[in-house]
C-alpha cells in the first residue's frame, strides 16, 4: 500500500445554481499516475481549480501531503479581503491561495497554455523558482544573494537540459512551436520543486505522434523527479497508456474508478461518452 499524497473529501463546488463538482472523493497514491477523465463540461477543470486553490470549495476538504490545504463547511460564508489573503470566519475553514499551495509542493499546468509569453524560456523557468527565494527584495536587488542566484541559474539550466529545451534557452517563449510550449509549461511547473504535478489536458491540440512522445515524456519525468502525477486528458490513448488509476467524472459526480481496461469497458462510462443506446 502506498501512501496517499492528495485526498479530497466530499468536495462540492457550486456556481450560483449550478453544481459543477458534486461530492468528489479522490485519493491520489504517491508515485503513481492518476487520471481524471469525463465528457466535456463534467467538472474536471473545476475540480483542478479547487485542488490548486483557485476556487474555494463550497463544501469539503482537500488534504495534501499531511496539510489540510482547503476546508469548508456549509453555511460558513467566505470573504476575500484582498488579493491573496482571506479572512477566516469559521474555525473549520482553511483557505490557501494558489501560490502557497504551490510552495507546499503542488504544481500545475493549464489547459490553454499560460506561459509568460514575452519572457525567454530561461526566465520562465527562473520565475517558477522565485517562490522559494530566501533573500528579500533589497538583498536581491543589490545582488547580495549571489550564491542563491547562482544556484537558481544552475538549477534552471539543468532542468532545461534534462527536458531538452536548452538550445532554446534565450528565445522568447511564445516563439517556440506549440509542442515545445507544452513541454516548457511542464518544465516550468517542475521548477517549483513539486511532489505532485497536475497536468490539465497536456495533449490538447497535439497529433497522435506528439501525443505518444508526450506519454513517454511524462513517464520519464515522473521517474527522474520522483513525482506523483495527476492529469486531466481527453486523448484517451494517452490516458489509457500511462495511468495507473482513472477516475471518470460526469455531471460533477464520480461514475467510475479503476484501471484503464476496467474503465473502458464500464457501461456507465460508455454511456457517458457515447450517449445512451436508444434515443
Amino acid at each position: 500500500m502506498s501512501t496517499i499524497l492528495l485526498k479530497t473529501e466530499h468536495v462540492t463546488m457550486q456556481f450560483g445554481g449550478v453544481v459543477a463538482v458534486d461530492d468528489l472523493n479522490i485519493e491520489i497514491p504517491e508515485g503513481k499516475i492518476t487520471a481524471l477523465i469525463g465528457p466535456n463540461g463534467a467538472g474536471k477543470t473545476t475540480a483542478f481549480n479547487v485542488i490548486t486553490g483557485g476556487y474555494q470549495a463550497t463544501n469539503g476538504r482537500v488534504t495534501f501531503d499531511g496539510h489540510v490545504i482547503g476546508e469548508n463547511y456549509p453555511r460558513s460564508k467566505m470573504k476575500k479581503i484582498y488579493n491573496g489573503t482571506y479572512k477566516t470566519l469559521n474555525e473549520h475553514q482553511v483557505i490557501n491561495t494558489p501560490d502557497k499551495i504551490t510552495r507546499l509542493g503542488m504544481a500545475r499546468t493549464f489547459q490553454n497554455i499560460r506561459l509568460f509569453k514575452d519572457l525567454t524560456v530561461f526566465e520562465n523557468v527562473l520565475i517558477a523558482m522565485h517562490g522559494h527565494i530566501k533573500a528579500g527584495m533589497l538583498r536581491s536587488t543589490f545582488k547580495l544573494n549571489k550564491e542563491e542566484e547562482l544556484m537558481m541559474n544552475q538549477e534552471a539550466d539543468k532542468l532545461l537540459h534534462s527536458v531538452n529545451l536548452h538550445m532554446h534557452r534565450d528565445e522568447k517563449s511564445s516563439s517556440l512551436p506549440y509542442g515545445m510550449q507544452r513541454k516548457l509549461e511542464i518544465a516550468r511547473a517542475l521548477a517549483t520543486g513539486p511532489k505532485l504535478l497536475l497536468l490539465d489536458e497536456p495533449a490538447a491540440g497535439m497529433n497522435p505522434k506528439e501525443t505518444e512522445e508526450l506519454a513517454l515524456f511524462i513517464q520519464e519525468i515522473k521517474e527522474t523527479f520522483s513525482l506523483t502525477v495527476f492529469l486531466i486528458e481527453h486523448h484517451m490513448d494517452l490516458v489509457m497508456d500511462i495511468s495507473d488509476k482513472i477516475y471518470v467524472l460526469d455531471y460533477g459526480k464520480t461514475i467510475a474508478l479503476g484501471t484503464a481496461n476496467e474503465v473502458q469497458n464500464d457501461p456507465a462510462v460508455i454511456r457517458a461518452y457515447l450517449g445512451v443506446e436508444e434515443a
Binding site: A128, H130, A135
Partner: protein, 377 residues
C-alpha cells in the same frame, strides 16, 4: 570582446556627459534654457521610469503618480525652506510651531549635517510616500485594471485636496503654496556643483530600479504582468509583489517630486493635478511601455521639444508679410496631443517597445543602413 566594447562605449558616453555637465555648470548663464530643460528632463525621467515600473513591468495601470510626487515635493519643501524665510512663506496663517522647532534644530547642527540635510529631506519624502503607498495598497491593489486606474487617480486627488485645504494651512500653507525653496544643493563639499545634483540623484535611483527589474523580484513582477493566474500558480504571492512594486514606484515618484520642488523653487497643489499624471503617461507611452531606456529617452525628448524646440509653434510666424495661420499660443500642445494619438493608434510600441537600448542593436542598425546604401549605389 563585444562586452568589452559595449562597456567601453557606455563609459565613454557617461564620461563625456559628465564633462559636458561640468562645462555647462561653468557656462550656465549663457545656456539657461538648456540647463533648465535638461534638469526638468532628468526629473521627469525618474517619474516616468517609476511609473513604468508599475504600469509597464508589473502591469498595474496606476494613475497616482502626481499624488505621490506631491507628497515628496511638499515634504522636501517644508523641510528645506530656510528658517529665515519661514515668516515670508507662511505670511498668511503662520507656521506650525513643530516645523519651526525642527528647523531650528537643523540650523544649529554641524555643517556636515546641514550639507546632507536636503538629501535626507528627499529620502524622508520618499519614505513617507512609500509608507502611504503600503497602507493604501492594501485597499486599492485588489482592484483590477481600470478600477485601479480610477482609484489611484482619485487617491492623487485626495492628496491634493488635503495639501490645499485650509485645515492644514500651518503646514502646507493651503492654497498659497510654498515658495523660497532652495535650489539643488552642492555635493561633496562643492566638488560637484549643484547643477549636477539632480542628474546624480536620478542616476542612483534609475540604477536601483534597473537592478530591481533585473533581479528575481523584477522577474516576478514581469510574470504578474504577463499572466497573474500563472504567476500565482508558480508560487508568487500576488499581493506581496504588487505591493512591493507600488511602494517602490511611489518612493521614487516622491523623490522626483522633491527634486521638482527644488527645481521650481515654488510649488502649489495645483501643480500636481491630473494633467501632470497624463503628461508622465505620455512620456511613458512615447518611450515604450516596459522600457526603462525608452522612458528616459522620451522624458528628455518630450521635455526639450515641449519647452524649447517646439516653442515656435506658439509664436506667430511670418513669411515676408504673410502670417502663417495656426501658429499661436497653444498650438504646440495640440501638435503634442496629436503626436500622442498617433503613437497610441499607429506606433503602439513607442520609441523602444518593451526592449532596452543596446549598443549591439544601434551598431547593427547603423551597419544595415550603410549596407543598404552601398547596395543601392
Amino acid at each position: 570582446m563585444r562586452i568589452k566594447r559595449n562597456t567601453l562605449l557606455t563609459t565613454t558616453v557617461f564620461a563625456l556627459l559628465v564633462v559636458f555637465l561640468y562645462w555647462l555648470s561653468a557656462n550656465r548663464m549663457q545656456n539657461g534654457m538648456l540647463v533648465s530643460v535638461l534638469q526638468k528632463g532628468v526629473i521627469f525621467a525618474l517619474v516616468a521610469v517609476s511609473m513604468n515600473l508599475l504600469n509597464g513591468f508589473t502591469g498595474l495601470f496606476s494613475l497616482g503618480q502626481a499624488g505621490f510626487m506631491s507628497i515628496g515635493a511638499y515634504t522636501t519643501a517644508i523641510l528645506i525652506i530656510p528658517v529665515k524665510s519661514l515668516d515670508g512663506v507662511y505670511y498668511m496663517n503662520g507656521v506650525h510651531p513643530g516645523i519651526r522647532a525642527l528647523k531650528m534644530v537643523v540650523a544649529d547642527s554641524p555643517a556636515f549635517v546641514q550639507s546632507i540635510f536636503p538629501f535626507v529631506a528627499l529620502l524622508l519624502g520618499g519614505l513617507l510616500a512609500a509608507g502611504i503607498a503600503a497602507i493604501v495598497g492594501v485597499a486599492v491593489l485588489r482592484l483590477k485594471s481600470d478600477y485601479l486606474a480610477i482609484a489611484t487617480l482619485g487617491l492623487s486627488e485626495i492628496v491634493r485636496a488635503i495639501f490645499s485645504s485650509p485645515q492644514f494651512d500651518q503646514i502646507t500653507n493651503g492654497s498659497y503654496g510654498l515658495n523660497k525653496i532652495p535650489t539643488f544643493p552642492e555635493m561633496a563639499w562643492g566638488l560637484i556643483p549643484s547643477l549636477l545634483t539632480p542628474f546624480i540623484v536620478v542616476g542612483f535611483c534609475v540604477v536601483f530600479i534597473l537592478l530591481l527589474i533585473n533581479s528575481s523580484y523584477g522577474r516576478a513582477f514581469k510574470a504578474i504582468r504577463e499572466d497573474e493566474i500563472a504567476a500565482e500558480a508558480m508560487g508568487i504571492n500576488l499581493y506581496k509583489h504588487k505591493s512591493m512594486s507600488f511602494v517602490v514606484s511611489s518612493f521614487f515618484s516622491a523623490v522626483a517630486g522633491g527634486l521638482l520642488a527644488m527645481y521650481m523653487r515654488s510649488i502649489e497643489a495645483k501643480t500636481f493635478s491630473i494633467t501632470m499624471t497624463y503628461d508622465i503617461l505620455l512620456i511613458v507611452v512615447i518611450g515604450g511601455i516596459g522600457s526603462v531606456t525608452g522612458s528616459i529617452l522620451s522624458a528628455f525628448l518630450v521635455t526639450i521639444a515641449k519647452e524649447w524646440w517646439l516653442r515656435f509653434f506658439d509664436q506667430p510666424l511670418f513669411f515676408g508679410g504673410w502670417q502663417v495661420p495656426l501658429f499661436r499660443t497653444g498650438f504646440r500642445m495640440v501638435i503634442f496631443s496629436i503626436l500622442l494619438m498617433v503613437v497610441v493608434l499607429i506606433y503602439r510600441k513607442g520609441l523602444m517597445g518593451s526592449t532596452e537600448f543596446s549598443w549591439d542593436r544601434l551598431i547593427g542598425r547603423f551597419r544595415r543602413t550603410k549596407n543598404s546604401e552601398g547596395g543601392a549605389a
